[in-house]
């Protein structure tokens, strides 16, 4: 069970790394926003699996914070990068 858990963690980490590598090599600007989403979902799954196999319940709260941070970061980036043209006239 522990071996399977660690193998699953390694697998999720490989997925995360592949996604982030692609994001950092990307040429299209909004693709790195998707990297934030990958980090939120895959990172939270990784932390949940670690919480179970290491019997560390606090890691579940860390997974919750990870998911929340990803959501807030994406909203703020999308609003910042792609603010409406009318809103730009309001900024000093």
């Amino acid at each position: 069970m522990m071996a399977f858990g660690y193998a699953l963690c390694l697998f999720l980490l490989a997925n995360l790394s592949a996604g982030l590598l692609f994001v950092f090599r990307g040429r299209v600007a909004p693709v790195w926003m998707l990297g934030i989403q990958i980090f939120g979902t895959t990172g939270a799954a990784l932390l949940l699996v670690l919480a179970e196999i290491q019997q560390e319940p606090a890691l579940r709260d860390v997974a919750l914070v990870c998911a929340l941070l990803a959501a807030v970061t994406l909203v703020s980036y999308a609003q910042r990068i792609w603010s409406r043209p009318a809103a730009e006239e309001d900024t000093p």
Binding site: M1, F4, L8, F11, L12, N15, A18, G19, F22, V28, P30, V31, M33, L34, Q37, I38, G40, T41, T42, A44, A45, L48, V49, A51, E52, P57, R60, A63, L64, A67, L68, A70, A71, L74, V75, A78, Q79, I81, W82, R84
Partner: protein, 100 residues
């Protein structure tokens, strides 16, 4: 390995497969909008399966409820954020990919 653990391991393997599908889709799809599909749908489904397996393994209703709530939060935030990203991209001139 008990039957419970076997079921949980099977669920987590299915979740891992969906994560792999989401990552491969993210790497191989042609434009931003299809990549959003891969991330929002496949990754969250994989998370749901892995969460279900972990909830069965933990054997506690409190832990299962917490995992379920994290999954619901991820679903809602992924839907909202993908809408924001796609809408911003469309408004700023990124056009969907057409089959050549």
């Amino acid at each position: 390995m008990t039957a419970t653990q076997l079921v949980a391991v099977a669920l987590m393997c299915v979740g891992g497969f969906f994560f792999l599908a989401g990552t491969v889709g993210f790497l191989r799809f042609p434009d931003l909008f299809t990549r959003l599909h891969a991330l929002t749908k496949a990754d969250n489904l994989g998370f749901g399966f892995i969460g279900a397996g972990l909830a069965i393994l933990s054997g506690s209703w409190a832990v299962a409820a917490k995992i379920f709530l994290i999954w619901v939060l991820l679903l809602i935030s992924a839907s909202a954020c993908s809408l924001l990203v796609a809408r911003g991209a469309l408004r700023n001139g990124i056009t969907p990919w057409r089959k050549p």
